[in-house]
């Protein structure tokens, strides 16, 4: 292995679609790690779903060699998840690097994630190389974008490397710049071992594969290691690098090295990103800074539906959790919906991905309740003592008499919007109880807006609204900053006289009537007429604030049914019946899955 001086650990950060993956592939090809023929797919994201959705869910790391000025360098490219839900994972990946390549699309310029990612890279103390990509496009304006990088991001325009990931132009220069401008890793090879886990993957044959960066000390195959946060020890059975395939390396890994570890770890549940690996026999004093327990911010329930049984759902969730521990789950019970699981996610997209993977890979069908955020509730506990509890479900809210205040998570959001839409975007934010922070010009026609917003107000359709207001040009990034008290109440929904917990929600008092009326209207559209009339009511603390009625079926009888029709007729009715089975029965009312989601529709 090259000496630490010749190692460069770096990542690429970019707004989505600015060319991060293409550039990464191109760099691998440039160094001979992959050639056009073997490049069936972009090597660095390897899940189907990721490719379909155009996002990177699981980070990876690849080591390549490059000769610069007659010296051989090892370049470790650490990939970062591209989505806004994975902030913590991104920050850990950045912590494993000394440098970051900031890619900006030569036709689009700086976007919200460019800014957010830059802040993160600066926070992580990384050296930066700005790259203006897609210069092959006729509409590319590289010089203008370089000036924007200087003016908006404060990086020297002259430092920009111009590339086309598509044609390969500028890529050799970029590789040289990495060797020249990024610092080599620092660290004490002789200190006690401290290695940062920045990612982990599950492999059916080998168990968990841990991605690490050695910060101090060294270790090798056969060592017994301790994961300090998880407090588990393992015997290392293999250490190696991705080149880009797995490549076992017999020599010890020293401060500055990046690689993977196999250690007979059965489940991803046992490994936490951000945790510190040390030697069990020669432990370091302190773990590396910045470790956090995974903190889900968005919760919803999954219940089995249709033919799926509870056991099948449980097995499917457990199986998925083994290879994707980014979500949490625990059994839950709802009077209306039966037995299921309450699951926690990093964000909405994350939730969608997990649900889709469960249905696709686990072959189960699921009714999903409307997601809610985590709330902090300050209550008067035993003996009048003030106490703070966390709830992830409106049904867990204690009796309002006990509640002193309810606090909700707040995010800091950076929104980039065309100047022409600024008024509408501000209105949108105000409607969602946003607090204005600042406004900056990005270019003559675009601005960055900063708002603090309640997470609950943006988890559903905020992003879609933003896109539609700005005709697709608006972009946004956000991260949770803390909790804040507000005038929040719980609204219950009664279907046919019984409260359905899965439809209850916590709302701002001033919006309760409006939301209640809107919700009942939506439910009325979504729940089919039954054999009987169904009253729908919204209530706060027993007081009805809105009502609707679903009339009973008027006429549903297929007139003719004769010899030739019997089979067809039966099939038609079977179809009706199948439709019903996909719904959830609450008492004697069949509620379709979409109805549970209509809780989220703000009606604005």
């Amino acid at each position: 292995m090259p000496a630490a001086d010749n190692i460069r650990n770096f990542c690429i950060i970019a707004h989505i679609d600015h060319g991060k993956s293409t550039l990464a592939d191109r760099m691998l090809m440039g160094t001979g790690a992959m050639d056009e023929r073997t490049k069936k797919e972009q090597k660095l994201d390897s899940m189907d779903l990721e490719r379909e959705r155009g996002i990177t869910i699981k980070a990876a790391a690849v080591s390549v060699e490059h000769t610069y000025n007659g010296k051989l360098y090892e370049l470790n490219f650490i990939d970062t998840p591209g989505h806004v839900d994975f902030h913590y994972e991104v920050s850990r990946a950045l912590a494993a690097c000394e440098g970051a390549i900031l890619v900006v699309d030569a036709t689009q310029g700086v976007e919200a994630q460019t800014v957010a990612n830059l802040y993160k890279a600066v926070d992580a103390d990384l050296e930066l190389i700005p790259v203006i990509n897609k210069i092959d496009l006729p509409s590319a304006e590289p010089d203008k974008r370089a000036m924007q990088v200087e003016e908006v991001l404060g990086l020297d325009a002259a430092d920009c490397v111009m590339t086309s990931a598509k044609t390969g132009v500028g890529v050799p220069e970029l590789l040289d710049a990495i060797c020249e401008r990024f610092p080599p890793p620092k660290g004490e090879p002789d200190a006690p071992l401290q290695a940062l886990i920045f990612d982990a993957k599950y492999d059916d044959y080998r168990g968990v594969i841990v991605y690490f960066r050695v910060v101090n000390g060294h270790f090798k195959k056969g060592d017994r290691i301790l994961m300090m946060g998880a407090k588990r020890t393992y015997q290392v059975t293999e250490l190696g690098k991705f080149k880009p395939d797995m490549h076992p390396t017999p020599e010890p890994f020293e401060a500055g090295d990046v690689g993977y570890m196999v250690a007979a770890i059965k489940s991803l549940e046992d490994v936490n990103v951000g945790d510190t690996i040390t030697l069990d026999t020669a432990r370091c004093d302190k773990p590396l800074p910045g470790y956090q327990e995974p903190q889900p911010m968005v919760y919803c329930d999954f219940y089995p539906s249709g033919d799926t049984q509870f056991d099948e759902l449980r097995d499917a969730i457990a199986r998925l959790h083994v290879n994707d521990a980014s979500f949490t789950y625990e059994p839950s019970n709802s009077e209306a919906l039966g037995s299921g699981f309450r699951c926690g996610f990093l964000g909405m997209l994350h939730m969608d991905i997990i649900q889709e993977r469960l249905e696709r890979e686990g072959d189960v069908s699921i009714v999903q309740t409307a997601p809610t955020v985590t709330y902090e509730v300050v209550i008067t506990g035993k003996g009048g003592v003030k106490q703070t509890i966390q709830i992830t479900n409106p049904s867990e809210l204690p009796d309002m008499g006990q509640v002193r205040e309810i606090r909700e998570p707040i995010v800091a959001a950076e929104i980039i919007t065309p100047t022409t839409s600024i008024g509408d975007i501000m209105k949108l934010c105000e409607n969602r109880r946003g607090i204005y922070k600042s406004q900056k010009f990005l270019a003559d026609d675009r601005q960055i807006l900063e708002y603090d917003l309640p997470l609950a107000e943006i988890i559903y359709d905020f992003f879609d609204k933003l896109k539609s207001i700005t005709s697709g040009y608006g972009t946004m990034d956000y991260h949770v900053t803390g909790f804040k008290a507000d005038n929040l109440v719980k609204m219950d929904v009664l279907v046919n006289g019984s409260p359905v917990e899965a439809l209850s929600l916590i709302v701002h008092r001033t919006k309760a009537e409006f939301r209640g009326r809107h919700l009942l209207k939506r439910l009325k559209e979504q729940i089919d007429r039954h054999l009987f009339e169904i009253p729908l009511q919204a209530a706060i603390g027993g007081k009805i604030i809105a009502r609707e009625t679903i009339k009973s079926v008027g006429k549903n009888v297929t007139a003719k049914c004769y010899g030739g029709d019997v089979t067809r007729k039966r099939k038609l009715l079977e179809k009706q019946k199948k439709g019903k089975e996909r719904m959830k029965r609450v008492g004697t009312v069949d509620i379709p899955q979409e109805a549970f989601m209509s809780v989220l529709d703000t009606g604005e």
Binding site: L531, G563, L573
Partner: protein
């Protein structure tokens, strides 16, 4: 002709067999073919005569409109062989094959009912009818038949044809009136002059028929309750023995449904449709008709049972044999259908290709029998349900729920839809499959 309702019809059961099989209450054996003493025997024979002179827009029955042949209008037309002749030859061949093969199985084809539907059976050339009737008699198929129905379009009923049919053994005619309102007929793109309906009935009477059924459709786009009322009154003036009255169904792949989708026609709203059905039930009851199935009424007559015995066989899951393209058959839980393809039927490799062949597993079969049996006013025998339904079956609870809502009721021996339940039969039946 027929109507949307094609195989619709009518009627009765001869005085010979007053009320047993057909009776108001199907006995458990009738509901459960497995238990019947003579498996395999076909109690009904259905003949599909797939020609119409125009395709009505709501119709999804298999029928073809033959190309206009100039020969038809001149004198020797009748003699030039055409598609109808070829079809009749193929039908007679199919009939012969079945007669022979059933004979070999020791189950000679000797149905109690015959039903000729379509298509427009009265649009089949008289010469073809002649051949067909000749063969039916020749194979002694009609020996035990006491109900032989032919569907008719008011436009195509002629004295000569009627005489020939009655001579050939036909004792029941079902006429597709559908509506007496020209606007409504136009909305359906059904081509007949409403004034021809009374004329057709009269021709039937003149031919000696004492069992005439009329079909009517309600909830036609543009129709009001008032308009339906007028249609009903005109219908009743004709004093039919039997009535089939249906809410219009928008069948997939029909011109009407396509027009609905593009907004050229508007569906009658659900509440009005309900009021219409309600009115039909009330009015017919007052006029002396008994509703014995969701859309079928027979005149109360102390001397005869005027229900359509052939169609009751469908709901009671009897065995019947269907001949002709698109004709469906059922034999002891096995269902099949001839391919709806006239050219292939006519070019006839020995047997017409079959489609939709299925043998239902017992739970599905049970559901299907409930679906069919509950359409009849008698309902289905409780003892049979109790024997067939496992205690753990979710349908038990559902039945109780629907009974509690007053939509199903238990009589001493049977389970049946209540009057309220008839409005929402499909919603209920779907859950029982």
């Amino acid at each position: 002709m027929n109507l949307p309702i094609n195989r619709t019809t009518p009627e009765h059961i001869g005085p010979t067999d007053p009320k047993q099989d057909t009776g108001n209450a199907p006995n458990p054996e009738a509901q459960n073919p497995q238990a019947r003493s003579a498996p395999g025997g076909f109690q009904g024979l259905y003949l599909h005569l797939p020609f119409c002179f125009h395709k009505c827009h709501y119709c999804d029955f298999y029928s073809v409109v033959p190309a206009k042949e100039p020969a038809r209008t001149n004198g020797n037309a009748e003699n030039a062989p055409d598609i109808q002749d070829a079809f009749t030859a193929a039908l007679c061949a199919e009939l012969r094959r079945w007669v022979v093969s059933l004979q070999d199985q020791g189950e000679p084809l000797a149905p109690a009912t015959v039903f000729a539907g379509g298509g427009t059976p009265t649009f089949l050339k008289p010469s073809c009818w002649k051949t067909l009737l000749h063969d039916l008699h020749g194979h002694r198929v009609l020996q035990h038949v006491d109900e032989f129905t032919v569907e008719a379009n008011p436009e195509t009923v002629t004295p000569a044809l009627m005489d020939m049919l009655v001579d050939g053994g036909v004792n029941r005619v079902s006429i597709g009136a559908q509506s007496f309102d020209r606007g409504s007929l136009k909305a359906l793109e059904r081509w007949h002059d409403p004034d021809n309906v009374p004329r057709a009935v009269e021709l039937c009477r003149n031919a000696g028929l004492d069992n005439v059924s009329l079909d009517l459709i309600f909830a036609i786009p543009g129709q009001t309750l008032d308009m339906l009322n007028r249609d009903l009154e005109r219908l009743l003036e004709l004093q039919p023995e039997h009535l089939s009255i249906y809410g219009l169904t928008y069948e997939p792949q029909t011109a009407l449904t396509a027009r609905l989708r593009v907004g050229q026609v508007q569906r009658v709203d659900e509440d009005t449709e309900r009021a219409m059905y309600d009115h039909v039930m009330t009015r017919l009851d007052a006029a002396g008709y008994e509703q014995y199935e969701l859309s079928n009424w027979a005149r109360r007559d102390p001397t005869r049972d005027l229900r359509c015995r052939h169609n009751l066989g469908y709901w009671q899951n009897h065995n019947w044999l269907g001949l002709g393209p698109a004709a469906a058959s059922h034999r002891d839980g096995q269902r099949w259908r001839n391919a709806p393809n006239l050219p292939r039927y006519v070019s006839g490799s020995p047997n017409p290709p079959r489609v939709d062949e299925e043998t239902l597993p017992p739970p599905l079969r049970f559901g299907e029998q409930l679906m069919l049996g509950l359409r009849t006013s008698a309902g289905v025998e409780r003892a049979w349900i109790d024997a067939a339904l496992e205690p753990g079956d979710a349908r038990n609870a559902y039945l109780e729920e629907v009974i509690a809502l007053g939509l199903l009721e238990k009589t001493e021996s049977h389970l049946r839809l209540t009057r309220q339940g008839r409005f929402v039969a499909d919603t209920i039946l779907a859950r029982l499959l």
